[in-house]
Amino acid sequence: MSVLAHYQRQLSKLLLEGRSPEFIRQVLAEDPELASLRSYVESLQDAPLEVAAELAAKWGRSL
């Protein structure tokens, strides 16, 4: 699986689980398959992650 596919899958899963921004950043930053994205992951901000989780709770689903 590509880095992009793994990131998208992991981020989507965490948002759908309603995880906090701190938890999301920590899980993604510690994922060895996402090492090349670590600086990006660490730059993800609280407010938009909370908004994304809210949208996922309202409109999202696991297929």
């Binding site: 998208q8 899958r9 989507s12 994205l37 994304a52 996922a56 409109w59």
Partner: protein, 280 residues
């Protein structure tokens, strides 16, 4: 400059927009495919779609294609088949989708998210949106997203959109409220951000309102389409008009059910008049 409306299928929209249509003030309409997948077209909406399509003033728009998902081949195939049906039934000037991804590998987060700034994002977007251009047989557009998770997303988006549009010779749907959301949320000058986009490719501009949410001590601007167009977004419109030489139409967007509120319905008509005035 044409001024148009994003078509909604509910009765509140019909009642609110009817005076504008009757006055001949609506030059064009944009139709979001997914609206018609959730419910049948009312007869009045189908008449408008056929009329504006026949006049060469109908634009198609998607929300849920998710062109930058790395693992969505089955979803993409289903979505394209449905849009192919719409394009066989209606005459669109172009079809567009949002930048971003809505999930991957069996997870759907329900709204487009920005992809991380990886080189393969442009390749994925080009492949998926190229397929949309093929099935639709018309010009292909991309809309800039409001939601950014990181400052890096704000800077990557214009570059990646330009890469995909250059490859596909597509057009930019420049959403001014989305641009203002990012500028506000990441404390950037909106004009400086505007100029990062491939403005020579902009054929469609969107204007809309939105809302604020609060997170700890942070106010965050959101693209919720449930309020009047804010003054800073209206102020960006003349700036965009000056900088976008290929621009054809400015589309006002607002969710139909919000127009059941008489004050919001009046505000919507005022927004339309203001946009029309700014467009000359």
């Amino acid at each position: 400059m044409q001024v148009g409306l994003s078509l909604m299928l509910d009765d509140a929209f019909r009642q609110t927009a009817l005076p504008l249509f009757e006055a001949g003030d609506v030059d064009a309409i944009e139709y979001s495919f997914e609206l018609g997948w959730a419910r049948p077209w009312p007869a009045w909406a189908e008449a408008l779609l056929q009329h504006y399509g026949g006049a060469g003033r109908l634009w198609g728009h998607g929300v849920t294609y998710s062109p930058m998902s790395a693992e969505s081949s089955e979803h993409h195939a289903d979505w394209l088949a449905r849009v192919a049906g719409e394009c066989a039934a209606l005459e669109f000037q172009g079809v567009s989708e949002h930048y971003g991804f809505m999930g991957s590998g069996g997870y759907d987060v329900g709204a487009p998210l920005p992809p991380p700034p990886l080189p393969e994002v442009a390749e994925l977007g080009t492949k998926a949106l190229g397929a949309l251009a093929t099935v639709s047989g018309v010009a292909l557009g991309i809309e800039n997203l409001a939601l950014a998770l990181s400052p890096q997303d704000v800077y990557a988006q214009p570059r990646l959109i330009a890469q995909v549009l250059d490859t596909l010779d597509g057009y930019l749907v420049l959403d001014l409220h989305n641009l203002w959301c990012q500028a506000t949320n990441f404390e950037l000058d909106p004009l400086t951000l505007l100029e990062r986009y491939p403005l020579h490719r902009a054929r469609v501009v969107h204007v809309s309102g939105g809302s604020w949410s609060t997170h700890a001590t942070t106010r965050f601007r959101r693209d919720t389409h449930d309020a009047q167009v804010p003054q800073p977004v209206l102020a960006l419109l003349p700036e965009a008009l000056q900088r976008c030489p290929a621009l054809e139409v400015v589309i006002l967007e607002q969710l139909g059910p919000t127009l059941a509120d008489p004050a919001l319905a009046q505000g919507y008509r005022e927004d339309f008049a203001r946009v029309r005035e700014l467009c000359g």
